[in-house]
């Protein structure tokens, strides 16, 4: 009976892994196939070729797009953390502050408003500020997503042992000193995990760069990739190579930090 | 293993029928890390007894209980319940039930659903031999009444106090009429006041049900007061098994001697004189009624704080001198913590006796029949 359960369990999980990852893995394999064998059904790209990658880097200026994306993702991550950390800390530290409930409500509700309902004014505002085609316009409007960072960080700060903050209060530390010396020190792993999540999330943003970066040179990798594809006879080889390059940085970060990310979710509000 | 020969209850030989009750026969358990959590030649729980497994944390008592329950399979050896080999039987099919340390109530079920869950499953699995719903209802009602849960039947665990949860856990375990009821630290989640009451409740329940109960605890006081049969474990081995009085009065080794009793037994290393009837160490001396034979030149001498008296006697026994460091008030008596030339020791002073003040010199007398001697190398008891 136990053996049967184990088989069923592995069958379920393996089926899920295959169904969810096969298309991407197939795309990865294909990206190494030369043009002549690109539609072959062989799962192993042998003999392999790097011509697709050369084409992607040469013809599509993938490097430039990746750099733009890096600037955006890093910028949004840092900006969101800077904005969210004080708020998250104050939500935990000043439990009895007047209006705390209002703040919490405003943060929670911001997450639930469909972003599509906001893009027209956000777009107009960005144009008004003269940020069209400017990296600032790519980054600052995405502060709207700082609500997520506030909630994630708040959960982590709440999970810190209250006695440590209490001890610091008794030693006469000001709230800012507590934030700087006690909370930040303890929060470093969580901060890393939350930053990684924000980074990955922003890296994969599609709609906003599509709107504010009309010039294909300046846009980020997600809409950039989409620009190369068209309904008529796409060049799959270089396109898939570019797609794999677009995923490579975040997948690498994830594989290196998967434990941390899982832990970050374990402390999220789902308890 | 030294533990094997210490077990005084009859160990079944090949020719004997296995005894009633629970028997762990040559059972050992290793975890994936390779650490041996349990390694016993034979551990017997007499039928109908309230057996307590006691020992410090990590001694293997919980592992032993989980092996009896079937939640853990032994690495080697057999588990027998009333003579039937259940080593590989699934937990729900060996006639045992268990109360968990934190009670592990199903949080989404009402009290009565919690209690009836096992019976309802049995009815579903075996439609011919299972109980009908009227019988299930009757048994649940009975269990609720016996544990004072009738008013709480429709509540959920989240709405109950610790004591109430414990009783639900008990009701869930007894409603299946198990041959063996296992209790894993059932009192540790309760606060001190409730614990006293729950202890009495458990003893009453055992008497009423008349089945075999195995209880695991690290609290030696709890073990001594509740057990009809006591098993002391340490580092995965059984050190001693027997009635609480016997284990307390004749501890088979130094560990058992110091683990049971509060404050613990005093110990000092003493020199045995040529005549064999005189033991001395700086600041203390003992005269024995009969000389010792065949013992090492130095032995460990033990005496319980409660066996000493500050009154002068001429009877054979121990006389020790010391200076009082501290006097603790326990309500019924005082405990004087003293320092002598051979180390620290304690003595219990009855409430009506004059109490020495801190800094005062005292002399304690212990009658010879209350002295314990241990081999300094092996820690085993030496018979005087």
């Amino acid at each position: 009976m136990r053996v049967g359960n184990a088989v069923g369990r592995h069958a379920l999980l393996i089926a899920a892994v295959v169904l969810m990852l096969l298309p991407v893995v197939w795309g990865l394999s294909t990206s190494f196939k030369p043009l002549s064998t690109i539609y072959d059904m062989s799962p192993i790209p042998w003999p392999g070729s790097l011509e697709n990658y050369q084409a992607a880097l040469g013809r599509y200026a993938i490097g430039r797009l990746l750099l733009n994306t890096l600037v955006m993702a890093a910028g949004v991550t840092v900006a969101n953390i800077l904005v969210a950390l004080p708020a998250a800390y104050a939500l935990v530290r000043f439990e009895k502050a007047r209006g705390r409930g209002l703040m919490l409500g405003a943060v929670g509700a911001a997450l639930l408003i469909p972003p599509q309902a906001l893009i027209i004014p956000q777009f107009l505002l960005t144009t008004q500020f003269g940020w069209q085609g400017n990296p600032i316009g790519l980054i600052i409007p995405q502060l709207g997503t700082s609500a997520l960072a506030v909630l994630l960080l708040r959960d982590h700060i709440r999970a810190l042992p209250p006695s440590l903050i209490g001890a610091a209060i008794l030693e006469g530390a000001t709230p800012l000193e507590i934030l700087w010396h006690v909370v930040l020190g303890l929060l470093r792993p969580a901060l890393g995990a939350v930053s990684i999540l924000l980074f990955i999330n922003t890296w994969n943003e599609y709609l906003w760069p599509l709107l504010v970066m009309p010039n294909p040179e300046d846009t980020t990798i997600q809409p950039g990739l989409a620009l190369f594809t068209g309904p008529e006879n796409p060049q799959y080889g270089p396109l898939l190579a570019a797609a794999m390059l677009a995923s490579l940085p975040v997948v690498t970060i994830y594989v290196l930090a998967s434990r941390r990310i899982a832990d970050a979710f374990l402390h999220s509000g789902l308890r | 293993m030294t533990s094997a020969k210490l077990i005084e209850s009859p160990v079944p030989g090949a020719e004997n029928a296995p005894p009633a009750g629970v028997l762990l026969d040559g059972v050992s358990k290793r975890f994936d890390s390779g650490r041996a959590a349990l390694d016993v030649a034979s551990l017997h729980v007499p039928s109908g007894s309230l057996t307590v497994f006691v020992g410090p944390s990590g001694c293997g008592k919980t592992t032993a209980l989980r092996i009896v329950s079937g939640l853990e399979e032994p690495t080697a050896g057999r588990v027998l319940i009333d003579g039937t080999d259940v080593t590989h039987a699934p937990p729900g099919r060996r006639g045992v039930s268990m109360v968990f340390q934190d009670f592990a109530l199903y949080p989404h079920m009402t009290v009565e659903r919690n209690i009836s869950f096992g019976l309802r499953l049995a009815a579903k699995h075996r439609s011919e031999s299972g109980l009908d719903s009227a019988e299930i209802e009757r048994r649940v009602t009975q269990a609720c009444e016996s544990l004072g849960l009738t008013a709480l039947r429709r509540r959920r665990p989240g709405q109950l106090s610790g004591g109430e949860r414990q009783r639900v856990g008990l009701a869930r375990a007894i409603v299946r009429r198990p041959k063996v009821l296992l209790l894993d630290e059932p009192l540790s989640a309760l606060d001190a006041q409730l614990r006293q009451q729950a202890r009495a409740e458990l003893v009453r329940l055992h008497r009423e049900l008349g089945n075999t109960v195995v209880l695991v605890t690290h609290d030696q006081l709890e073990a001594l007061s509740m057990a009809t049969h006591l098993v002391v474990l340490s580092k995965g081995h059984v050190l001693q098994a027997g009635s609480p009085a016997e284990v307390y009065r004749r501890p088979q080794d130094e560990f058992v001697a110091t683990f049971l009793g509060s404050p613990p037994m005093n110990l000092a290393t003493v020199t045995v004189h040529d005549t064999g009837d005189r033991l001395t160490a700086p600041g203390l001396g003992a005269r024995l009624p009969r000389p010792l034979r065949g013992v090492p030149a130095e032995v460990r001498l033990g005496w319980r704080p409660g066996d000493g008296t500050l009154r002068h006697t001429e009877a054979p026994g121990l006389v020790a001198d010391g200076v009082v460091d501290l006097v603790e008030f326990t309500g019924d008596a005082m405990i004087a913590q003293c320092t002598g030339d051979s180390g620290r020791w304690a003595v219990t002073v009855p409430a009506n006796d004059p109490v020495p003040a801190a800094g005062e010199p005292v002399r304690v007398h212990v009658p010879a029949e209350r002295l314990h001697l241990f081999d300094p190398a092996t820690g085993m008891r030496l018979e005087a």
């Binding site: 592995h10 795309g27 990865l28 104050a90 599509q116 027209i120 709609l207 998967s258 979710f265 999220s268 | -």
Partner: protein, 303 residues
Amino acid sequence: MTLATQTKAGPARKTGSALAWLYFTPAIVSLLIWVYGPLLFTAVLSFLDWNLVSPDAAWQGLRNYGTLVTQPEFGNAAWNTVLYGLCVLPFATVVPCALAIAMWKRPGRASEIYRMLLFLPVVVAPVANALAWQFILDPLHGAVNQTLRAVGLPAVNWLGDPHTALLTIVAVTVPKVVALNTLLFGAALANVDRRTVEAARMDDAREGEITRAVVIPQLRRTMILLGMLSLVVVWPWLFTNISVLTRGGPSNATDNVYFRLYTYAFTFFDAGTASAAAIVIAVAFGLLLAGYAFLSRRFRASR
């Protein structure tokens, strides 16, 4: 904190509140400028006739909302939105719940590896995912149709056939939903007492019964929460795939209200109608959330 401020709660509380709001300021300003301001602005725009550029905008009253009702495209998009939601829901609840339980039941090395692999779809660049799917679903040379032909089945134009296109878009999107929610169910399971499973084993429950009667009921609230949450986060993901793969076609079969809104605003430059659509979406969403709040309160009350 000095003793003096402790005895006089009033002023201490006031300064504490002021200090708290100082810390809130960066976040609250960000939210006001980029979330709540725009929401209000969208509401105003929905009553105007404006092309996003010209200096004059005319007051339209409710006419933009009327346009939505009368245009069959919007009705179609609304209906598709419901279909998308219904199709995504099982992949936001039942499927990840089963996967998370399968990993939780036997913790260890294997489960760690599954956990890592199963989260990958969240990380993979969405456009890369879409392109990979487009490649294997290619009507002529794609791996899926080659396989179908090899076993003697007719090839399907997955993204080009109005009957299959919406389901195909769902299939392209759900790995990400499953991946995220599997992790979140795992987080919820971390708070389930494993001893309740052992207690059920002692009660002679079979593995399936343990899952059904002991584990899943303890996840019921998580199930509702994640079902809800997924209906919040899935639309941008669907949007990307629709935008890359079908642009709402064929014959609007994969269109939904979000893509329609985008089309009104940035293809037709009709800010009024787009904003009216946005407000309709936001209100529909609000109703959905109110429904969720009601449900979850009832669950809490019954606990």
